[in-house]
Symmetry: C2
Subunit: 214 residues, 2 copies
DNA sequence: GCCGTACCGTACCGTACAGTACGGCTCAGC
DNA sequence: GCTGAGCCGTACTGTACGGTACGGTACGGC
């Protein structure tokens, strides 16, 4: 895990535009689901030859890895305000995190990609699972934790273990949503639902960790 | 989903002892992972002929379905005390739930089976995902909710929406554990960890929903 | 105009695996 | 002891798919 961290953080190179088009074709096929993603199907969808596919990505696994990385590279959102944190800003930051996270895990792309990665994690060859984890769960953790610590520094939050506090936040936001979606439950979340769920989670988190103004 | 509920609740028939042995062989192969579970491997492991496999289970999907059901049939645990609930009993019940649920999702069998079901949910043909969901997330929900409602009846808990309260409990208990395990993170939970995590989750749940004694 | 490079399309190869067929063994019923 | 049912082991078939080879085309460099 730590050995592969260097690899995970090094997206080799950014793919060329044509390559990006190919990866988008892969994504569209994955999201459509149904048939089990053959190299032929990718070549057809992307209007390129299989030979090119193998030349660019090595093998099927390489193509999948590149696709996952490509998708991950578009997810990262902006940084957040940390200095001079007041209660309203903290709440808003948390709300934003919760909403964007819920939007991600509820998106068909994320669901499909996570399915692939989960399946892959069983037959361990490469580490799609690790990549997804690094760009999902752990990436958001690294972005939320500074906010939590800033909240603590501003005497708005109280906790000892930042990681534990984040995991509680993560649980309150995600609940059963991701596993249900991965398992094919027809759970639909529109923007309003996401807003409501996020607000609920943030309120609960603040109830647990918020410092009653001293 | 609702249409398939009847099917899901009807485990066809309980398999014969020999059939159970075959299903256990499938489970052992699934848990071992590595190679992608071929019918040949199952026949070899179970010391039976492929012909018998097909006669008994129809096809590969039928075998998988029977395996998932077979595993599910062993998970159901006992009922819980509901009448005359006091605070300590409520807490103990919740703690038990949390521990048993964490034990389940952290077990290699559950992880492997959920991986199969998740992969299956992508290429929709049968409904392994629905079966796993019905016997996992939803089954535990149906068992926890009466306890929560009994707690409310005993004026120990306060909430409007039982389902929402349960989902909070679910999130507090599970946090990021299941998705990390599914994605192959080397997260190990021993019994002590599980006890600690469960206690933590229960304390948080009671902090959110417990009724400050009136 | 000629060549090399990069690519498309398609044909091809090898293999792995789902599903079937069949001979042989065991054992219960008679 | 004979027969038939049930099952094991193995051999076989068909096919889907990963990976390779190759002819044909477009294009930039010279």
């Amino acid at each position: 895990m730590s050995a592969s961290a260097a690899i995970l953080d090094t997206p080799s190179e950014t793919p060329s535009l044509r390559q990006q088009a190919v990866l988008d074709a892969v994504l569209s096929l994955i999201v459509e689901g149904g048939d089990p993603l053959t190299m032929d199907a990718v070549a057809r969808r992307a209007s390129c030859s299989k030979e090119t596919l193998y030349k660019w990505f090595g093998d099927r696994d390489g193509l999948l890895t590149a696709t996952v990385r490509w998708q991950a590279s578009r997810v990262h959102t902006g940084r957040y305000e940390i200095d001079a944190l007041d209660a309203a800003t903290l709440k808003k930051n948390l709300q934003d995190f919760a909403e964007s996270w819920l939007s991600v895990i509820a998106s068909p792309t994320s669901v499909a990609l996570n399915r692939i990665a989960v399946a892959h994690a069983g037959s361990h060859k490469s580490n799609l699972g690790a990549i997804v984890l690094a760009n999902g769960r752990f990436a958001i953790g690294e972005r939320v934790k500074p906010v939590l610590e800033a909240g603590r520094a501003a005497a708005l939050l109280a906790f000892d273990d930042t990681e534990a506090a984040f995991r509680t936040f993560f649980g309150l936001v995600g609940r059963d949503i991701q596993i249900r979606l991965l398992l094919g439950d027809a759970l639909s979340l529109d923007a309003a639902d996401i807003g409501r769920e996020a607000a609920h989670a943030v309120a609960q988190f603040l109830a647990l960790y918020g410092r009653a103004n001293p």
